[in-house]
């Protein structure tokens, strides 16, 4: 079991979809929302995801296919 912290960003109609709930239902991961700021058409959530590493990767890859932007919580680390 490992814990991964990520930032999910939602834009537009995606804000209304229960993506995090669905992720916890369909994958063997436990999600914990640590911070969030959600407006009508834009929002971000800092999420802790617990589970086996491969399962976490699968869950996050699935969230991305739903249109969620997934970033490390520290912002971009690749610099010019």
């Amino acid at each position: 079991m490992v814990r991964k912290r990520v930032r999910f960003t939602f834009e537009g109609d995606l804000v209304k979809d229960p993506v995090i709930w669905q992720m916890g239902r369909d994958f063997a991961v436990v999600t914990n929302i640590r911070m969030a700021d959600v407006e009508e058409r834009y929002g971000w959530v800092i999420l802790e995801v617990d589970g086996e590493p491969d399962e976490i990767d699968r869950a996050i890859a699935w969230a991305e296919t739903k249109g969620v932007r997934v970033d490390p919580i520290t912002g971009d680390v690749v610099e010019g």
């Binding site: 991964k4 912290r5 960003t9 834009e11 640590r34 911070m35 700021d37 407006e39 834009y42 800092i46 932007r69 997934v70 970033d71 490390p72 919580i73 520290t74 912002g75 971009d76 680390v77 690749v78 610099e79 010019g80």
Partner: protein, 419 residues
């Protein structure tokens, strides 16, 4: 003498030992170095600084290292040049350029990496790491070489050969990651938690970021211990921008300069402008972008310090400008033509933003303005290749030369005069 006492969270204030940590365990806020400013007062004086080396390490007392043995590569104390030609062209009475192209690896990154590498060595690390598409990798590789440390540098596999060269020459371990930019980003965030390496802008970021303060110190010292009226700074993560302001406020706190009323303005390229876009939209909520600009050294779509940059902009009555790629190229050419400085695309962004801010009346004619030129032009030759005047191609005869010259003279006298 070191005055660093701890790290603290910028959001909740919780304190931490000054180790290899960068985010608060409780609220995920970024960590920042705590100093004993009271202890500095009266000890860190103008005289003490002025008698130091002609490098960034003359400000060692204000930097987050414990010992007195920095990795000295001759970084910093770069020229502050009066830019009369460019000032005249833009309509500014007192314009200065801080020319940070002349650092050991030709960008300001040597300042941040100098501090990160020195602190990493103090903390017992033997390997320096980073994820980079250019400047950062160059500087990390060079510092590791100088300090006898190992370097491991992660790059996207589609990076141009010319960019790889600037790191490869120092013989780091280069890891070309087959994947998107986001893949490289995520991979390196994870590796930082897994391997005993100092990722300069991840696990030792609080120290790293402090290196940029030296640009603020230098400008004030070079202006005769005075803060400028206006600064124009390129922004990627927004760290450099916020730290120049921090440097000025610290000097005031120590009584070394009068209270600064400097207006801090930031420059981004339109194709990657999350901070400028938030500023112009009047929101503190930064929306990550997918970068698409020739100014690759500024192409950070999800800037770690964006929020703090916006706060500084608000606090200092500054502004932000986002400029097109065409303006970037024109900015590079304008700087070279008027002041003889060949800067990389980040410099083009900054000059173009300066021009915009003057034209829109944000920067006023009489403001003593300092523009930060943070990287050298030979790093990004492709940006201007094909956009410069071609050579005169002639035979090795006087006639051939004079025929070509007549043609040029005719063209010049037919062209409209420019200032």
């Amino acid at each position: 003498m070191s005055y660093m006492t701890a790290l603290h969270c910028r959001e909740c204030g919780r304190e931490y030992e000054p180790g290899p940590l960068h985010v608060c365990e409780f609220c995920f806020g970024p960590l920042e170095v705590t100093y004993d400013y009271d202890g500095m007062r009266g000890k860190v004086t103008r005289k003490r600084i002025e008698s130091g080396p002609p490098t960034m390490w003359r400000y060692i007392d204000l930097l987050p290292i414990a010992g007195d043995d920095p990795i000295e590569m001759g970084t910093g104390f770069t020229p502050l040049l009066r830019a009369e030609n460019l000032g005249r062209e833009l309509g500014l009475d007192e314009l200065y350029l801080k020319n940070d192209c002349v650092n050991p690896t030709w960008s300001f990154k040597d300042r941040v990496v100098g501090v990160a590498a020195t602190r990493a060595r103090e903390l017992g690390f033997t390997t320096l790491a980073c994820a980079s598409t250019g400047n950062l990798a160059n500087s990390v590789s060079a510092h590791a070489a100088k300090a006898g440390m190992d370097a491991i540098v992660f790059i996207p596999s589609d990076l141009e050969q010319s960019k790889i060269l600037g790191s490869a020459i120092y013989a780091p371990t280069l890891v070309a990651v087959n994947g998107s930019y986001d893949d490289v980003n995520r991979l390196c965030s994870e590796l930082a938690g897994r391997y005993p390496w100092a990722f300069v802008n991840i696990n030792v970021r609080p120290y790293y970021a402090e290196g940029s303060k030296t640009l603020g110190y230098e400008v004030a010292e070079q202006l005769g211990w005075q803060a400028p009226d206006h600064c124009v700074v390129p922004m990627a993560s927004g760290s450099l921008y916020t730290k120049i302001w921090k440097g000025l406020t610290e000097l005031h706190r120590l009584g070394l300069i009068d209270e600064p009323h400097t207006r801090m303005s930031g420059a981004q390229a339109e194709g990657c402008s999350p901070i400028a876009t938030a500023w112009m939209g009047g929101t503190m909520n930064i929306r990550p972008q997918r970068p698409n600009t020739i100014a690759k050294s500024l192409a950070i779509g999800n800037p770690a310090d964006g929020y703090y940059a916006l706060k500084t902009m608000q606090e200092t009555n500054g502004a932000a400008a986002a400029v097109s790629d065409d303006e970037v190229v024109e900015g590079m050419k304008l700087l070279a033509r008027t002041e003889g400085i060949f800067a990389e695309t980040a410099g083009g962004v900054t000059i173009a933003a300066l021009k915009r801010l003057v034209q829109s009346g944000v920067i006023r004619r009489g403001e003593r303005t300092v523009v930060f030129i943070t990287g050298a032009g030979l790093k990004t030759p492709d940006a201007v290749m094909g956009r410069l005047a071609a050579s005169l191609d002639i035979e090795a005869t006087v006639e051939s030369f004079e025929a070509a010259k007549r043609e040029v003279d005719a063209r010049v006298s037919a062209a409209p005069a420019t200032a």
